[in-house]
Every structure is written in C-alpha cells, then in structure tokens.
C-alpha cells in the first residue's frame, strides 16, 4: 500500500464529488478507498483539512443535512469553479501520466 501522492487528494475529492454529487466526509473517503481497491493507504482523517482547504478556495461548498441513518451530517458539493478546476487539474494529471508512461516505456 502506498501513500497518497502529493496534491492528488484534492483532485480525488473533486472528482468524487463531481461524479457522485453531494457527499459527507465518510462517503468521500469510502469512495476513494473503493476506487483504489486497497492500493492506497489513506488515513481517512486527512481528508478533513483537505476539504477545508478546498472550501476556502471556493471549489466546494458545504451544508448541514440529514444522513441516510438520520443523523446530522455535513454534506460537501462541488461548485462551478470547482468543476473548472477539476477539468484543469485532470488535464494536467493526464498529461503528466502520459509523459511518465512514454518515458518509462522507452526503456
């Protein structure tokens, strides 16, 4: 199991919220772990500082609501500027990955 690559957690959160719609912190963490299929050692708590950072930047917003088990929970949703940011960052990632892939396959 590997650490979360630096800077990629923001992108994962944005992508998750973009795909699944509003989620609470636990839902986001579980989704990321599902997708990683156990390949990622995510301390689930670390997403909370990340969520705060994204919210401060205005890429996500949050509000209190009621969860599926009828408890008060905080739900996060992606904003319009968050979607733009997601597109930008996804592009950068894809380019980086493509470059790395070509570089590594040349050997």
């Amino acid at each position: 199991m590997d650490e979360v690559p630096y800077g990629s957690l923001d992108l994962m959160i944005l992508k998750t919220l973009d795909g699944l719609g509003p989620q609470h912190g636990y839902g986001i963490a579980r989704r990321i772990e599902q997708v990683a299929e156990g390949a990622l050692a995510l301390n689930q708590g670390t997403i909370y500082p990340a969520l705060l950072r994204l919210e401060q930047k205005g890429w996500i917003k949050s509000e209190w609501g009621t969860s599926e088990n009828n408890r008060r929970a905080r739900f996060y949703a992606i904003t319009r500027s968050g979607k733009k940011q997601l597109a930008v960052e996804a592009d950068i990632w894809q380019q980086t990955v493509a470059i790395m892939k070509r570089l590594l396959e040349e050997q």
């Binding site: 912190g25 689930q44 909370y48 705060l52 401060q56 205005g58 008060r72």
Partner: protein, 910 residues
Amino acid sequence: MTALRTWLAKARALVTPRRLDCTLDDELQFHLDLLAADYERRGFTADAARLAARRDFGGIEPIKEAHRDRRTWRWIEDAAHDARYALRTLRKNPSFTAVATLTLALGIGANTALFSVIDALILRKLPVARPDELVLFAADEGQGPLNTYFSYPLYEDFRDHATSLSGVAIFGDIAQRQLRLDAAAPAVEPVKAAAVSGNFFSVLGVQAALGRMLAADDDRRGDAQSVAVISHDYWVGRLGADPSIIGRRVTMSGVPLTIIGVTPDGFFGADVSGAPELWWPIQLTSRLDPEGRNSLSERNTEARRIIGRLRPGRTRAEANAELAVWLDRETADRFERVRQRRGGVVADADRAAFRRSLSLQPGATGDTFLRQRFARPLVILMMVVAVVLLIACANVANLLLSRAASRTTEISLRMAIGAGRLRLVRQMLTESALLSIGGAAIGLLAALGIDRVLLSFVPGENTVLRAGLDMRVLAFTAVIAVATGLLFGIAPAVFATRRHATLAIGQRAATAGRRQKLLVQHGLLASQVALSVIVLVAAGLFSRSLRNLHGLDLGFEPERLTVFMLVAPIDYDAQHRAQLAQAVVDRLVQRSDVGAASYSLFGLLSNMNRSLNVVVPGRTAPPGESARSLGAFVSPGYFAATGTRLLRGRDFSGDDIAGAPRVAVISQTMEKRFFAGDALGKQFMQQGPSRLDGPYDIVGIAEDAKYRTLREDSLPVFYVPIAQQASPPPQLPLQVEVRTGGAGTLTDADIRRLVRDADPSVIVNGVQSMGTVVDRTLSQDRLLATLASLFGVLALIVAAVGVYGVRSFAVSRRTNEIGIRMALGASRLSILAPVLGQGVAVSVIGMAAGIAITIPLTRYVAMLLFQVSERDGLTFVGVSAVLGVVAALASYVPARRATRVDPLVALRYE
C-alpha cells in the same frame, strides 16, 4: 482570485472560532461512528470495531491541529491567546503593573511631546498640494540668519520675470484687526488677518472648503475687489459652520468686505507660528492702512514674505540663478541713493552692509522665525528625553527580571511539558508589549500636558503648533512603544527561558542562575544611574546658565520701564522726526505716573545697533586692538529713563544741540579700553563714512549696559545727543523709553492717545515692558533649564525606584543567610554594612561610567550655555552628590529592613 477567497474565508473564521471547532468535532465523530458501524456489520465486536475505525482514521488530534492551523491565521489566534494570558498575569500583580506602566508612560509621554513640537515646528510639510515644489524667497545678508522679508515692488519683479516658477505669491504677517460681522450691530471683535496676493491660494494649490478662494482677478492693482476668505477654524468656531456666510458683507477696520470662501480644514497659510482667521487681497493695503499709506509702492518697506512654486522639472538652483538679478538690482539702486545722499562717498564698511544675495530655500515646511530660535534647544531636549526613555526601559527590564524569579517554576513547568522556547519568549514579549502599549496610552495623556508646558515657552500665538496629537505623532508613539517593549522585554524573556527545566522544578533555589541574573540586574542598574548622570548634568548646566543670565547686572533697570516705537511717515526728515519724538517725551513727563522719558535710535536689546571705529587723538592703538564701539543716539533723560547709572560727569541737556560743542557719554569699558585713567573732559573722534568725525568732548561716564544681547561681554559704547547728529540717521523708527512711577499706571491706550494728540499721522508700534523684552531674549534658556530640570527629577525618581527594587530583591535573596548570621549573634552593623556597600558600589560604578559618557557629550550644548563651562565642576560634583545620596537612601531602606527581620521568620523563609 482563489487567494482572495481563501483570505476571506480565513478572515470569516477568525471572528467565529469556537463554533467551528465544535462542528469539526461533530463531523469527525460522525465519521468514526459510520466507520465503526461498518466494521460491526462485518462481524467485529463493538470495541474492536471502534479500535479499527480509529486505526483507519488516523490520529484525531493531529487532524484537528492541521484543521485549526488552516482554518485561520494561526499567529493571530496565538497572539490573542497570549494577550489574554498576559492580561491575567498583569492583573494578578497590580503594583508591578502600575510601576512599570507609569515609568513607561513618563518616558513615552516625554518623547511624544517633544516629537509633536519638533514635528510641527521643523518637520511637517504644509498641508497644500505637492509641498516639495514650493520655494521660499530668502536673502543671504552675509551675517545672521537669512532674511525672508521683501518689498512689494521686488515681489513684482520676481513674479513678472520668473519662467522657472509656475507662480509667485506674497503674504503679509498676521495683524490684529477690528471686524464687524453684522452690519446691523455695531459690535466689533478682533480678528487675525493677513494680506495675500490674489494668486496665494492657487500657488499653494489650496481648494476652498466652501465658496471660492481669492483669485488673481480679485487683486488687480487699482481695482482690488472688496472680498475676503476666512479660515475653517474661524468658520466653525466663531460662525457655527453657517453655510450662509458666503456672500455676507462684513466690515474690517472700517472697510466693507464680502466673504467669498472658507479655506479647507487644517490650512493655516505658510507660517506655522500663527494661523490667520481671515485673508484679504493685498491690493487693498492702502484702503486698510490707517493713514491711507500704500506701502506696496515702497521699496524700503520689506515687510512681506514671498513663496513660489517650481515648474515641473525645474530646480531651485535654476530659479535662483534666474531671479538673483532682481534682488541685486534693487540692492544697487538702494546703495546708489545712499551714496548720493552722502555726497558720493561711501566707506567700504558701509558698502559691505548693503551686500546681499538671493538664496531660495525649500518651501515645503513654510517659514517661521521660531525655527532658527528653537530648533537646537528642541533637538537637545529630544535627546534628553530619549535618555529618559532608556532609563525607563532599564527600570522596567529590571522589574521584569525580578518578577521572573517568582515565575521560574511556572516557566520551567511549561517548558517541561513541551512548550517551545520561542513560544514562551513570544508569550513574555506579549506581556512587555501590553505594558508598553499601556504606557503609551497613558503617555499620550502626559504628552498633552508636557506639550502645553513646552509651548508656553515659545512666544507668539501658536495655534498651529497647539494642534498637537495627529496621526504622525500617534504613529511615532506607536513605533516608540513597540521598540521600547522589545528593548526592555527581550532580555528578561530570553533570560527567563534559558534555564534548564529540570534544574528548577521542585528545587526552589536555582542559585547559579540567580547569581547570574543579579549580575545582569546590577548591570542594568549601573547603566540606569549612568544615564541619569547625563540628564542631571544637562539639567544642572542649563539651570546654572539661566541663573547666571538672571543674575546679570544688565546696566539698566527693566522694572517699570516701558518702551515703544514711533513709526513716522516716510517723508518726515530727521529733524521733523526728532521734534515729534521730543513732543511725545514732553507730554509723557508731564504725566503724574511717569518718572522719566527719553527717545533714542537703536533701543536696548532691539537687534538694531550701529558699530563704529573710535580714534582717540594722541593715542597710538596697541597692535591688534579693535577700535569697534557701539554708537547710540539718545535724547536728554535717557539715563534716568533706562536706569543706567551715570558714574561721573553729567547727562545731556537741552543745550547740547547742533552748533554747540559736540559731547558724548561713554561706557566704563570704553573708558578702560581707550583711556588711561579718568576720561572725563578728554576727547575722541569717530571714523565717519569718509573722514574722521568729531571731536567729541566726554562729559560723562556711564555704567556698562547690555546693549545687543544679554550674553555679550561688555562692549565699548558711546552715547551722543541725537540732536547733535549732523547726518540724518537712516530710516529707522525712533524708540521711546518711559520710566513709570508714582500714582496710576500708564496703559497702552494712554500711550496711543498721547501720541495721536502729538501727531495723528504717527503710528505707535510694539508697546512692551522692558521686562518682557528681557524675558523674550531668555525664552530658549528658560525652555532648556525648566524642561531639563523636570526630566532630571523624573530620571532621579525612576533611578531611585530602580535601585530600591533591585536592592530589595538582592536582600530578599539573602534573608535566609542573614537570619542565620543574626541568630548566631552578628551585629546589625556588620550585616548592614556589606549589604549597603554593595548597593552604593553599583551606584558609584554607574556614576563613574555616566560621567565618562557625559563629558564628551557636553560640548554639544556648550554654545547654549552662559558663563558656565560645559565641564562645570560644581555641576558634576553636585549631580554626583545628589545621585549618591539618593542611591544610598534607596539601598539603605531594604538593607535596614533585612536587619530587622526576626531570625526565626528568616530561617523559615523560602
């Protein structure tokens, strides 16, 4: 954009901190519960599920910490926390807090006060548009300060020929005038008014707050508009900010004027020593002159100042080069007129007296006569108060060090449980900052008081200076406060956190650390004493200097002596003027409240005099001797009126007139210098413009009198009857001297009435008592002596508190030991002596260091002292004695207390 949003989010979080922390707790708990529930569903027991959830989640506290760090600016939260903590600590030690705050208040207050006056007088720029472009016209006359007063015709020359200046304006001095605000009501009230050229406001770049300012069109020659502008202060203070004032018809000195505008708030013209309340077009001069005289056409009347604005890109030097010729031309014309009057012959010395050259000055800070007179004393006082502040800092640092002793355990504990040293230092500096902020707040109040004292020494109406605490002064105070806080706070903070935690916990006396600290404290104490020496020596020197000036034998009696000037119309010749003055004197002596009266050219201490070379027939002057003497032209009765004693011989009489033998009275010094033995009946000549003038028969010897300044050495002076003066004296006003006495008191109004009766076309100027004249010449000496003494006393008090505090601490540290020794039978004296000795030793070291620092510094004040050497032994000995006694007393009290302690109590101490 993103950065801004983050900033806003953080700012929002700053004001709602508590609630956000709670919601984070809720959120994390919710997460953990769901995670645990998941594990339970997979078959974990409740406890195992909770554990597994915690493991997956990671550390909760670090997450919260990271969240807190990010939510808002951490340092602000920390600072707020530190401040709350420091406030609690300070509240718990009220006496420490009070002493520290008051000491700082004193130091900061004194500095703020001095700065506010220096700022207003010297540093602050005029509140006008782009003040740096302004140039002030000034003439360098070879000696003395620059002259900034010019004639109106010369102003016109400058104005019409300046290409490097975008505008040149002229302004007159403030004059008190009678204003009738309401045409219906006959009541008049005084108003401070100044004449300005129409372009004055546009050259300064000043926009009206209401209505409009004067314009060039209001001020055309022969067609001046009867309009005026009033100041914002006057409008608000006298007129209740009534907007209908625009267009109001008022009457000033009998001339109807229409108010057309109000200047912006804070504008006071171009001279900080006085703010006019009303400005009027200068072309109205002849209408507003009581005699209808138009001084604007007189090249001899140099009574107004000129200010100009450089065009963009042009320099002061260019403007000076361009305009110098106009001053030179006026000077040459004037010289030519004098030459013709004297039959074409002028001595070199007289030629030199006419020499002058244009010297444009930066105009950004305006012009004031106060600057030359008070700049140096104020700067010296500023240094004195800076030293006072240093003393205060040393004192508070010492108090903090003493107090840190009682906090050793607390600090060690906090360090032991992981508080960073830097964090602790910051915490303690916060405490210092609070102290200095408190000190600054109280100091600002003190500054207002000190300001008032300061300005009471500055002559004139200082409405502008009195404006006091503005943003610049507050900023200065803030900077001082922060610097002070760091200065006295950093050493104690570093010191307190240096000890190893393990050393102090549970172990009450960390002796090694304490001894070291006591050394630091004694060092601070010695420097405090040393700095006090500087302040006290300054106080001593200036006080002795002032005493010497007060104790001077002036050679005349200023009490009950009133002087005034007679300004005669320009076409009165010398004879006519002398007749007029004699008529005034005759009328004066008839009054029952007048003892004697006379008139003269060149009054005592009037800044005007005439110095001439004296030749004694039949005497060969020793090489290198100066033959310079002052010549005074006086009427009979002069010696009785001024109170200058005639030692031998006689006063002038009505018979000493033109045609009679020429006579003179000479001063003692003149007799001593030029004559061996009694000079009565002997003769001397004076070096006239072209030839020897005389001879004069010496008919009297007068005591030496201070003639030009109080500081001068006795000069050779000769008095000659003004009636025998063949060549008409220059166009100078005659001074009348009146010695009052007997029943009743001669008032200003009496004098004016009397002169008007004698000749209605003559103006009375500057009626004042000779005491006032003498006092005014001493204003800077009094300022220095009074304030330096005040600060000296403050320094002494602060030093005494410092010695007392440190010695108390040093003694209390040894209470234990003293108790044992006393229990063993040691005598009081054997205990007292070393304890007292240590305190005195520290003070003596401080004094020695202080004297060593002070001696080289005193030469900066030497030129301000009078008949006191800057290394005056008496002052140094006196200061040492006073400081020594105070230090000994302040050490004695705690030492004696230690010997009074019950040995049993002392043994249990600590």
